[in-house]
Amino acid sequence: MKSLRRFFKRLTNSILRRRHDERLREELAEHIALLTEENLCAGMSPGEARRQALLKLGGMARVEESYQSERGLLFLEATLQDIRFALRMLRKSPGFTAVAVLTLALGIGANTAFFSLLDALVLRNLPVPHPEELVRFGAHTPGDDYASVSLPMFQEIMRDQNVFSGAFAVEGGPVMNVETNGKLIRASVDSVTGSYYSVLGATPEIGRLLTPSDVDLNSAGPQQIAVLDYGFWQRQYSGAKDVLGKTLKIENVSFTIIGVTRKGFSGTNADEEDDIVVPLNAEPLIYGTTNPQISLQRRDVLWLDPVGRLKPGVTVDRARAQLDSLWPAIRQAVAPAQETRIARDTFDSLQFTLKSDATGGSYLRTRFANPVYVLLGISAVVLLLACVNLASLMLSRAAARNHEFGIRATLGASRSRLAQQLLVESIILSVGGTLAGFLLANWGSYGLVDFLFQHIGLYGYVGAKVLDLSPDVRVLGFTAGVAILTGVLFGLAPAWHATREDPNSALQQSSRTLGHGTGTLGKSLIVIQVALSIVLLAGAGLFIRTLENLRAAQPGFRIGGVLEVRLFPKPGAFKDANPLPYFHELTDRISHLPGVVSASFSHGDVGGGYHWPVKVRIHGVDNQFFSSELDRVMPGFFHTEGISLLQGRTFKWQDNTRTPHAVVVSENFVQEVFPHGNAIGEHIDISKDPRLQDLEIVGIVSNASLYDIRKPPEPTVYFDTLQYGMAAEFDTLLVRTDLPPSSMLVPLQRAANSLGRQYVASVDSLAKTVNDSILPERIIAMLSAFFGALALLIATIGLFGLMAYNVTRRTRELGIRFALGAQRSSVLRMILRETLMLTLIGIAIGLPCALAATRLITHMLFGVTPYDPVTLTAVALALLAAGALAGYIPARRAMRVDPMVALRHE
């Protein structure tokens, strides 16, 4: 209470700047007068009496000081004074201030931008109540961590467990034809079990959401109702309230809209909103199944993604332990009844898994989390470099103010007071840099995410992508922490230096004598800058070479001159008719368009990253499995894609569901599976899919890295979808032509429309798809090159600044040298030698650091080792050149020093 009162008194005194000096002076004067009088009475001489009185009172300055500190809050006042002073000093050198703030803004901005990306991608929880209670669980085959369940399995798990307060299963968003207001669009459709919304704690924007009673999995007639996503509602219905009760058609099946979710709700997806949600048991209707129960109760296909909410107090580990112990019984209970033995083996090997789902699923995370970590690392090094650079600049400034500091120290300023003043100056700079950097970060992270979203369409469909980048507590805390840390980091060296200064020698040394300048500290800061630049440039160099190698990669299939035409089926187009004649006709028509060399359907994602790894065995040989890729194609594929036939034949239009099932395999598949014999005519089984058993190898083709141009070609089995009734799924028509996509669009549309079953959704070049598949490498190469160049610039400026400062400081010395007959070229050599020496030391320290750092990115490189000598040599040479340039300009100035002018100076 007392101390609080005292604090407020002092605070108000400080703020109102109430002066008590007059009062103290008067009181002390009176005190001395009374003391003197007393001494006089004791018989002292007047002079002596006053002297004794003053002695008794003690040091006036100290009394005044402690009186002042009692009067107000000294620290506060001193800090305010320092801030005013620092602002004045910074205003006096606008060039320095601008460079400092800009450097910091770039450094802090980059760090904040990448951190907020990391936050949004990896750290941020789903925007639902208590996201930490959500867990993802299910069965997976050993070696593949993707977990899923069949509906009977889900129901069995739910019957036995007591760790969840609720759980639901989702069949995740296939893209379908949807008719809204008489308009046909593509939209993603989720089908869910009844507790989907209640477990996620969602509430409706309008209308109501699905409840367990809406999704009666045992009922024969499912409810045809749908809930819309907020964004979809806004886009398709302009947010009209009267959508409730309206119907929309999914693949020609009617659904009644019952409600809309709130803005920002994205289910268990962190970065993508599904447009429409329907009851799980209504989904078979969309596929035209007459008896939904048959497809719902299938036991051999794990098609659902289950998510549970843990009961309060149940940990993830406990839930996993409990369900793990129940797992063998559950698996036994829901095993498929009639299956081949191979399939039964696979089913019995299924393992149970359960992990936290607090952050939800994210496609962006799987592709871009690693690049973002790398970029965050790069930007941290850039910021460190910026700090070191500013430290050396501040050091030069502090050295120039040595005299001033000397005077202040002599007048009684304490060392901590001097250090505080310099620290305040650097913190002001870092706060300025942070504010600018924060704006930059905001712009940068949104820009980058927009860029990503533009380039990651999937099968031509770009869903409603959302990524919450708004700064949260974590991001703000990170930025504030970085700002303070940088301010202290680059302010510390000069502050430490200034307080070590002996005021006596600082006062004696005028600009006439030779100061010791920034000394070893300044030089070591330069060396650090060079070393850090080496690290950044080496990383940038490796990433650029990686990108170059990827661009020049020969993946074994044709990329240039191929168009990728995405075709979508019109509603009901493939319900029952045999599609072979249609695809034959369409391929023929398009192959004969002007400018087209050939055309073929493919169902994979050529160049795009999605693949289908399978286990293959020789038919009749149990217990020996080979890993292989499976690719779905139609006749003409190998010709169009430039994959050459080595032996046998490729697929023909005469192959159909009734002819023997044929496969074509790649050369490396044959080498692995049939090392000693002729593969043609052999029979193989693929996985447990009953449709893919006893297939005859009819041809062998050359190797190709069809899905990922980074990877060496995998053994591959190709089959003709027309033989298996698997056509009309994810159809992509590959068209070999030298014409650009824009001029092919109309003829292609006309050809597709003339047959009436499919329509053209998009036409792109295959080169674009491949280019987008290396998006992470492109972004890293681009940004690391930018930051590498920035690092080189910063280091060069630092080196230049130090040398220029040294030359100025040594003007007099140089004048004397010239007057005594020194050769100008020897001075040039001397300064260049010093610069290059510093650069070389920096390189010598930086190279091992770079090697250590680049080892961390080995897995992100392509066709280049982390200790690539070409890159490292180029980087070292670049820095040497920069060093020579930074030394040459001040050296030239030194050479031109006029001895007369230099000696007369001052």
């Binding site: 007392k2 009181e27 009176e30 005190h31 007068a33 009172l57 009186y67 500190s69 009692e70």
Partner: protein
């Protein structure tokens, strides 16, 4: 010669309060003089250090001050105890005595007294 003792931290304030309680309103010089007398010149006090303490006590509300006339008829600042100051003095006196008693007891204990 006996060494002069340093003034214990905080005790100066207590002395000021007690002085004002006994003698009524006084100026700085008077307070200093009184403390010197009572301590028998054994305490080394730079009399100037008194003034920051007076200001502190005033900020805390234990004393208040006004201008008045000194013995030689010049302007001097007189300090007086407030009600809060009187309470504070009482409390601190009790604390002090208790502390002194405890220390005293420690000194009284002999080895044979221990069980």
């Amino acid at each position: 010669m006996k060494q002069k003792a340093d003034v214990l931290q905080g005790t100066l304030a207590l002395m000021v309060l007690k002085t004002l309680a006994v003698l009524g309103p006084l100026h700085g010089y008077g307070i200093a003089r009184r403390i010197e007398q009572i301590s028998g010149d054994l305490l080394a006090v730079n009399q100037g250090t008194l003034y920051p303490v007076l200001l502190k006590l005033e900020h805390e509300g234990a004393i208040e001050s006004n201008w008045g006339a000194s013995e030689n008829n010049r302007r001097a600042r007189f300090y007086r105890l407030t009600r809060a100051g009187r309470k504070q003095l009482h409390a601190e006196t009790c604390d002090w005595e208790q502390m002194a008693a405890i220390i005293g007891r420690f000194f009284d204990v002999k080895a044979e007294d221990l069980p």
